[in-house]
Assembly symmetry: C2
Homo-oligomer: 277 residues x 2
């Protein structure tokens, strides 16, 4: 497993790959969710590239960039047995050289859900993902359904900017008690960790109602809110029942839909979602 | 020489290219300036792709999109003898599908010179060039020095977005009387055509002063303005003596500099430039 830090080495190594290349972009501090993407890439591609880069431009000024968890040695030891060909770990000054001034912006999709409370977040995501796509030139790129809006935004960017890249979105990987795996779960103390299961419990309750025939979106949102309200440590930021592709809030669920939420447990902001239809 | 209109065919053909690929992006209505780029690409690359696309998003609402000159048959007959492998002529609905909402924006460089009077122009240029880069994945891309600011903006975009593409900027090709070749020259009536030589005459006068030792930028700008003022059909939009890379207006010429201008001859807006140092 090769590890590379510069852009020049990345380009040179890419030229040596002859078959299909899969890219798994990550911010490191890997968990089973990331590893499921890597395994899928390993099955489908001749060469697997994992990028590890905590991207400063997708963090807001009040967000957790400086304390975002990092453990490169552990990450590399997790990736090595999976048959990864190349780990690309660029430094911030390589990704954002002086006088950097070019941004990739998806306009409409990014204004909803996460975009409401995290202005600029998706501009940072799409810019860095475009840079990763350009530097690695993969045939397939793997993202987690955990960040459902991110996946939708990347799909839109891929289409709009004519990238010849297949976007593969893999299912959420959960702890045995239902908590979606996230690098940020490490922030939770034991009491908070227990309370954090409320996200999936509320999503499951709404999904069950949907499977029982409920199609009124406001009813589904209310079911989630009621479950969340019963957990004293949970502070809800948003609860959504939206169209799967456009992320517009629905009145009635007719096609594929996304139930999603952002909830503070203490100071830790967690997101989760399930797909309907 | 293959001609292709869809994105799928473009991607499939690209996969069949094994050596170095050169891209010459154009808006068609080709002249000797474009052909000089194609010849250079032919010398340097194994496969030459020419794109012809009149990009609507780089025209302002009051600009000449609908009457921009087009002659595809003539373009193809000019390209065929040059050994071009592929001409890509996407339709606007392929480049900008419904719900298109992703833009590539170079922030600072685009505010100067052309950017002052053509807001949004460079956002259209960088977005379509990013799309061409992604769809064609060339090793080298060829641009004319005629659009000096465009070349600077594309160089910046290439660096900022980590494109593994060499940007080759080729010299301006001029008519025997010095007028820079441009698809828009066709708009000029005989009297205007004669008057249009004033751009190069004014640039040449300033360059001569520079070569005689003048380094004060305002003096150089004034020399250009004086020559332009003597031509009754010329209406000056801007005259600039700027740093070659940052395009910031200079007080004193110390390093590489760009003398440039935009001038209306009747209703036709012409640009031209020369490089100092």
């Amino acid at each position: 497993m090769l590890t590379i830090k510069t852009l020049i080495d990345m380009h040179a190594t890419r030229l040596s790959f002859t078959g299909r290349v899969g890219l798994v972009p990550t911010m490191g501090y890997l968990h089973e969710g990331h590893l499921s993407l890597v395994r899928r890439a390993r099955e489908e591609c001749d060469h697997v590239v994992v990028s590890i880069f905590v991207n400063p431009t997708q963090f807001g000024p009040k967000e957790d960039l400086s304390k975002y968890p990092r453990d490169i040695d552990r990450d590399l030891s997790l990736l090595d047995p999976l048959g990864v060909d190349l780990v690309w770990m660029p430094m911030p000054e390589i990704m954002y050289p002086s006088a950097f001034q070019t941004w990739v912006d998806v306009e409409t999709l990014t204004l909803r859900l996460e975009g409401v409370t995290r202005p600029g977040h998706f501009r940072g995501v799409t810019t860095v993902v475009a840079k990763l796509f350009n530097a690695v030139q993969p045939h397939k790129a793997y993202f987690g359904q955990k960040d459902a809006q991110q996946a939708a935004v990347i799909r839109q960017m891929r289409r709009d900017l004519s990238y010849p890249i297949e976007i593969v979105v893999c299912p959420i990987v959960r702890e045995p008690d239902g908590l979606a795996m996230s690098s940020r779960n490490v922030y939770l103390d034991p009491q908070q960790r227990k309370a954090a299961t409320v996200l999936y419990r509320s999503l499951s309750a709404a999904k069950e109602a949907y499977e029982d025939g409920v199609r009124d979106a406001e009813t589904l949102r209310q079911i989630m809110k009621d479950v969340l309200a019963a957990e004293p440590l949970a502070e809800v930021q948003y609860v959504s029942c939206a169209d799967y592709d456009t992320l517009e809030e629905l009145d009635t669920v007719t096609g594929k839909a996304l139930l999603s939420m952002a909830v503070f447990i203490g100071k830790t902001r967690l997101i989760d979602n399930v797909v309907l239809g």
